[in-house]
């Protein structure tokens, strides 16, 4: 591994301030606000609140607004041409929610109508347009989702896994977020006034920004020097009162960039305008910079808070600041709150900018900070080699129960597919801890508690196909039943994809990186890749968890093929960079298994001809919705690698749910320890207590290869 630079070579942006660099720059130079009362939908009660709305994204198109915003932001990059990106990383929380809400309200039961619901379909759509055949990652860490792709994209390039990465974020206005934040009393009826003495909250917004990150040169706009991720492990929504998590993310970003605070000319604040965010961020910024504060501002009084887009929108605003020497004003702030002592820019300022620190914080205490600099202005960050991830312990949950119950049933050749009774699921979890939680966070906590045991994990990487369906359904049902008057704050807080990961972090006090990734069949593999990339596990073990819940109403609409037999569960691995446990590594991940050459690349990644001899068995994930293609892919891999051993079609036994592979990984880890897989499960199963490992193949629309070898 060498010291690699990661450039931003092209970007696109759309927000309430306009479309593209020119309109955005003009708006930023004028200091104007794009906030206006919502007109996308009409709230039946109360005045329409100010939001950051984009007029031209009106209804009636075939794809939901989030997808269209992402396409518009990516358009200049697509037009510029060049080879396809090796990976796509997009942050989003709402996905197709704006389109889903009226469908659910109208009781539409045709799953086809919901095909763009999944958050992961935004990145999948972009990947298809860019002809990307590599990993397609969707980060869903609430309001820090848009900054994490810069961190993951840069890590993909520095690790040598990619030379070009399309990274960004997108979110659109929808009722879930409009009423959700309102129910939390976090909305300023006068429009967001970040850092103002009289601020009352944020303004929800929509937008998107995309960047092409490259390892090459050319004429880049800016360079990503470093990124830092952390978790407050404090509260589901409120930030840490002293800003501890924000501070540690900023410090980690500067540390990775190799910069000192004096190198930062501008801080792009998260600055939502809520009383608590601005206060805790101010404490963190002052603790970091002490008396020597650089120029700083929040643009959310101008753009509104575009949630998962905001981190990416502000990364592009930072790149514009560097490229054009323009520091945006803290629009909306009339009288800076003396209690914050931050002195934000009241008007836009022309100045040369060497480096920007851009913050993004979200629910679940999930924090990200990114350092963006003039290209080649500073030394490249030092690359470091990391030992492989080793599994210290593991756990799974299926319809049969937790790990021991599941394995016992499998060894007796019994099917474990089903929906585990909640009472059994929650055994051992403190009643007060889980009283407000529904099925997915309970699954996740129960997996994490079993896998971690007495250990204290420092980070959490969570993968989920569909997120917290119970909370989402409860929130929307109550919203519609009350004619949009009485949304539930509890259900809103629980509905975000990363709520379970936030709960795990709070339970263990895990203050390291906390990422949630989502995908229809590869969410667990995405989470594992993220853990490898973020180099987690150096200061202690981290949890890699995958889980999904079967929901009687929503699962059949969103994931009809899998919902034919209701089944859920998941798996958790406690991994570390030390110890002597089994070695786990993600060898290959492609978001498009159907693309020409994708399976060949997977075969190459495994070692090609003869690679089959390295494995004692293959655990094949064959999704119900795509069996024919998946079997053909499996045959091709087995033939090319000359693998003649047993193949365990695990989804038949543990259920068709998005993160079934997480449960399979936990079983594989146990079987590695025993040197055999149960003979009753597949023909030809025999002992492989000779150093051979197990191969987990994810097949179908996305394909993946995870290897587990004895330690």
């Amino acid at each position: 591994m060498t010291d690699k630079r990661v450039y931003i070579a092209g970007f696109g942006i759309i927000s309430a301030l306009g479309t593209g660099s020119t309109e955005t720059l003009e708006a930023l130079a004028s200091g104007r606000s794009g906030l206006a009362p919502i007109s996308r939908f009409r709230p039946p009660a109360g005045d329409p609140l100010p939001v950051g709305q984009i007029q031209e994204i009106d209804a009636g198109k075939t794809m939901p607004a989030t997808h269209r915003l992402a396409q518009i932001a990516a358009a200049p990059i697509l037009t510029a041409g060049g080879p396809p990106p090796d990976a796509v990383v997009v942050g989003t929380t709402t996905g197709g929610m704006a389109a889903t809400e009226p469908l659910l309200r109208a009781g539409i039961e045709d799953p086809e109508a919901y095909r763009w619901h999944g958050a992961a379909t935004v990145a999948a759509d972009l990947a298809r347009r860019f002809r990307c055949t590599g990993p397609v990652l969707t980060v869903s860490t609430a309001c820090s989702s848009g900054a994490a792709p810069a961190a993951l994209g840069a890590a993909l390039i520095r690790s040598g896994r990619a030379a070009r990465v399309l990274a960004g974020g997108a979110d659109s206005l929808c009722r879930l977020t409009y009423y959700g934040f309102l129910s939390l009393q976090l909305i300023d009826p006068n429009g967001a006034r970040p850092l103002d003495r009289d601020r009352k909250g944020m303004s929800v917004a929509e937008g998107a920004a995309m960047m092409m990150l490259t390892a090459g040169d050319g004429n880049p706009d800016a360079e990503i020097l470093g990124a830092g991720l952390s978790c407050d492990a404090w509260h589901p929504t409120a930030p840490h009162p002293e800003g501890d998590g924000a501070l540690s993310a900023m410090k980690a970003a500067l540390n990775q960039a190799g910069l000192s605070t004096g190198d930062i000319d501008y801080v792009n604040l998260h600055g939502t305008g809520t009383i608590d965010n601005d206060l805790s961020e101010a404490l963190a910024v002052r603790a970091l910079f002490s008396e020597k504060l650089p120029a700083l501002s929040s643009v959310k009084g101008a753009t509104g808070h575009s949630l998962a887009a905001s981190g990416a929108v502000e990364a592009v605003v930072s790149a514009l600041a560097i490229r054009h020497g323009l520091l945006p004003a803290n629009t909306g702030c009339r009288l800076a709150d003396p209690a914050l002592a931050l002195f934000p820019l009241k008007t836009p300022k022309r100045a040369s900018v060497r480096a920007v620190l851009s913050n993004a914080f979200g629910f679940g205490g999930s924090n990200a900070a990114v350092v963006i600099a003039q290209p080649d202005r500073f030394s490249p960050p030092r690359a470091a080699e990391h030992p492989p991830l080793r599994i210290a312990s593991c756990a799974c949950v299926t319809g049969a129960g937790a790990t021991d119950a599941t394995l016992k049933k499998l060894h007796a050749a019994g099917s474990c597919a089903g929906v585990l009774d909640e009472e059994i699921l929650c055994r051992g979890l403190p009643p007060r801890l889980i009283r407000r939680l529904r099925r997915l966070p309970r699954l996740a906590l129960s997996l994490a508690a079993e896998a971690a045991g007495d250990a204290r994990p420092e980070g959490v990487f969570f993968g989920t196909g569909w997120g917290a369906l119970s909370e989402t359904d409860r929130f929307l049902t109550r919203l519609f039943e009350s004619d949009e008057k009485y949304p539930s704050p509890t259900d809103f807080v629980g509905s975000v994809h990363n709520a379970p990961a936030g709960q795990i972090a709070q339970f263990f006090g895990a203050r390291g990186p906390n990422l949630t990734l989502t995908g229809e069949n590869d969410a667990f593999e995405q989470a594992l890749l993220a853990a490898e990339l973020i180099c987690a596990g150096q200061n202690g073990p981290v949890l890699v968890v995958g889980a999904d819940e079967a929901h009687p109403r929503l699962s059949p609409l969103f994931d009809p093929a899998s919902a034919a037999q209701a089944a859920d569960g998941g798996g958790a691995l406690l991994v570390e960079r030390a110890g002597s446990g089994p070695i786990v590594s993600l060898r290959f991940l492609s978001g498009d298994g159907g693309a020409a050459g994708a399976v060949d690349k997977l075969i190459d990644a495994l070692g090609g001809d003869g690679a089959g001899a390295r494995f004692g068995a293959v655990l094949a994930g064959i999704p119900a919705g795509n069996k024919t293609a998946a079997r053909a892919q499996l045959d091709k891999v087995a033939t090319a690698c000359r693998f003649a051993g047993p193949v365990f079609d695990y989804r038949q036994w543990i259920g068709q749910f998005a993160t079934a592979s997480a449960a399979a990984a936990a079983m594989a880890c146990r079987w590695i320890g025993q040197g055999r897989i149960p003979p009753a499960l597949c023909a030809g199963a025999e002992g492989f207590d000779d150093g051979r490992g197990l191969l987990l193949l994810g097949l179908g629309d996305s394909i993946s290869a995870v290897e587990i070898f004895p330690g």
């Binding site: 939390l184 009393q185 509260h235 009383i275 009283r435 009485y486 509890t490």
Partner: protein, 88 residues
């Protein structure tokens, strides 16, 4: 007042899923939020919705909220004084 407090006790236990609290356990004069019951800021917002929906009383700022949710009795008193149906 007592029937209102009894009603509120039952509602609070129900909407907040207070699994290990019985309605009678809620002392009308003890600290309601941040005390032994385990009620936190998100629960307060859930109670705000309930009070508005069931009694027509809006509580939309933090300063008022802190006083109103200090104890069960304070909440009952606030509802009694402000609810259109209970006033007068």
């Amino acid at each position: 007042m007592e029937p209102l407090l009894k009603e509120l006790r039952e509602k609070i236990v129900d909407i907040l899923d207070l699994v290990d609290v019985r309605p009678d356990d809620i002392d009308p004069d003890a600290r309601l939020v941040g005390g032994e019951l385990g009620i936190d800021s998100i629960d307060v917002l859930e109670m705000v919705m309930m009070v508005e929906k069931d009694y027509g009383v809006k509580i939309d700022n933090r300063e008022v909220g802190v006083k109103v949710f200090a104890t069960l009795r304070a909440l009952g008193e606030h509802i009694r004084q402000n609810a259109p149906e209970l006033r007068g």
